[in-house]
Symmetry: C2
Subunit: 348 residues, 2 copies
DNA sequence: TTGTACGCGTTATCAA
DNA sequence: TTGATAACGCGTACAA
């Protein structure tokens, strides 16, 4: 086992100074062709590579970005990561991940851990708990220390930073308009409680679409799930509630769900009740993941372009990291990624 | 914007030396209670935290582990990551990810990038290309530099390191035995080409189960897909081939597929041909992901316990990192995670 | 053309 | 009880 070789060792072996080695490796014209040749040959032989940590310390720059997400076993978030990683690598950065597991305290701990020199900036999506508690001190503290943050998907306007979001409102509105255009007269909404910003916006999009088409929204047709529960429990409750919804509103002929799972559950319950999708009920979900694509019938969804969000977030962050800090007032931008309606078999 | 505060700044402010500050913060009994109190108050006020990079340089230890996987938008791999992250965080480590995107060269580049001081060890699953080319020099070089590696899932015996795998052979055998016990007489296999070790082992498990039950394997019933193709193309080809398989072998009453997608496609084609699952054909897949759970009918699968694999891999790696290096011969272990057959609606 | 000295932030050792 | 110094590995301004 040969330890990684350092400049110092090369210098000692070749009986020159460390700085000579350093310069020779950079083809500095201060150094004689002879020495350069000798040093480079030796370095190549021993496969010399500069130590990243030493460089980071010296340059006060790690070339690493941190990404904090609530959950990784989730098609949307893993696609975002892929996008981040793609751009980051292309631009010479590594990506370090932290999972908050939807917990406020884990989010804080993870951020503090990484903020102490490990990374140059954050890309993050807030945990549900943070959204509920509305405690954003850790974000503000991090930024006040000069560490840039780019938020995506789950954002709040209280925090001043770059953001990448999808147009949840418009995406939802388009989806519901599609159902209306497809002759749905009684459209149910399956959504989350309002503290998750995206759920709220999608709900508003639903309402707006109804409003513009002069359809009076009915409280009976709106199902707001509490998604802080344990997954399994949630799923069971969900199906029971949807069944209840369908049974007590037999006229329902369209469903808009704010995520994939809710949409799938709606289709499952419909099937159980002997209703055909899309003939009796048409269904549209949000978030274009694997489930939608491979469901039976395959699910029409609002695609969020998760990878593109990740790419954009990474570009924004790295731009900010690499931009010279003019003391002038900082400008933050919010990039809105357009959604697409991916039509499949669950709508006509 | 206040930059992160350092020992040096605290020392200057309080008019003491850097080392006094350092010791005071550690409650060293060399320092007077008075000074300790003063320093700690000041440090707390300015929220002092030691710089990780400086510590890494000093200790020649980063407390970070690197994970290299072929793809992150994949339920299995993201679950492994979750497991790794869970254990790593618990034991005081960060996780940095690298995606090979199934490419040999990206795998090499990513590893070199991280091996230069950024991390203390690797957890990785090989890219398909690496498996095909059988070029493992980057793994061996990394290890010869004293950087430990733990491989999971896609491994080869040529490389001497710790490994975490599932018993692909036995998992497959159990699955096929289940089909046989369920009275299937003609069981098809949908698998990948042999260079991916897991595909090969699962195929062997299938053959062994047949053998032990005195069923003669038929080449006609075995479909080997080339999974190096583009995803969309692959999917189309896959379904076409399965359809062909079913049409030319009407007696098929059971299918074992080496992954979720193949199994799902089999069910889809069966439905298209008017065959009922599980009444006409029973289907079992490998890899227990979201698709299996939410498919219609839900899919019986061999569960790999991906998260557990990640946890185990992380424990193995950190153990190795933290163990004092007795010069004695190194011992490597291969941990086999048992599989479970998760029975759902696609079998009787 | 080469070498010395310094600094990045920290800790450990030894001197005062 | 406190402080100076060296070291981790690197790059660079400056001196030789």
């Amino acid at each position: 086992m040969k330890r990684k070789i350092t400049l110092k060792q090369i210098a000692r072996e070749l009986d020159v100074s460390i700085s000579t080695v350093s310069k020779a490796l950079k083809n500095s014209k201060e150094i004689s062709a002879d020495t350069i040749q000798k040093v480079q040959a030796f370095a190549k032989l021993y496969n010399y590579r500069p130590n990243n940590i030493a460089l980071s310390l010296k340059n006060r720059k790690t070339n690493t970005i941190g990404i904090i997400i609530p959950e990784i076993v989730h098609h949307f978030f893993s696609k975002v990561i892929r996008g981040v990683e793609l751009v980051a690598n292309k631009r010479g950065y590594n990506v370090i991940i932290g999972l908050s597991n939807e917990s406020f305290s884990k989010e804080v701990i993870n951020m503090e851990m990484l903020a102490n020199g490990s990374i140059d900036g954050f890309i993050l999506s807030m945990s549900k708990e943070t959204l509920q508690q509305q405690d954003y001190h850790h974000f503000n503290e991090t930024m006040s220390q000069g560490m840039p943050i780019v938020m995506f998907d789950r954002v709040v306007s209280d925090i001043k930073c770059d953001k990448v979001i999808v147009d949840d409102f418009k995406g939802a509105k388009n989806a519901v308009e599609k159902l209306i255009a497809n002759k749905c007269k009684s459209i149910a909404l399956i959504t989350t409680k309002d503290y998750v910003s995206v759920g709220k916006l999608r709900t508003q999009g639903y309402l707006e679409a109804l409003h513009e088409n002069r359809i009076t929204p009915e409280a009976d047709l709106i199902l707001k799930m509490d998604d802080t529960l344990d997954y399994e429990v949630h799923l069971e409750t969900l199906e029971a509630e949807i069944e209840q919804l369908f049974k007590s509103n037999k006229k329902i002929d369209g469903v808009f769900a704010v995520n994939e799972l809710y949409a799938l559950s709606a289709m499952k319950v419909a099937r159980k009740l002997g209703l055909s999708v899309p003939n009796d009920i048409q269904v549209i979900g949000f978030t274009d993941g694997v489930l939608s694509k491979h469901a039976t019938p395959s699910l029409t969804t609002v695609s969020q372009h998760a990878q593109q969000m990740g790419e954009k977030a990474a570009d924004l962050l790295i731009d900010k990291i690499e931009t010279e800090f003019d003391t002038e007032e900082e400008q933050f931008q919010t990039v809105v990624i357009p959604t697409d309606l991916v039509e499949r078999e669950s709508t006509k």
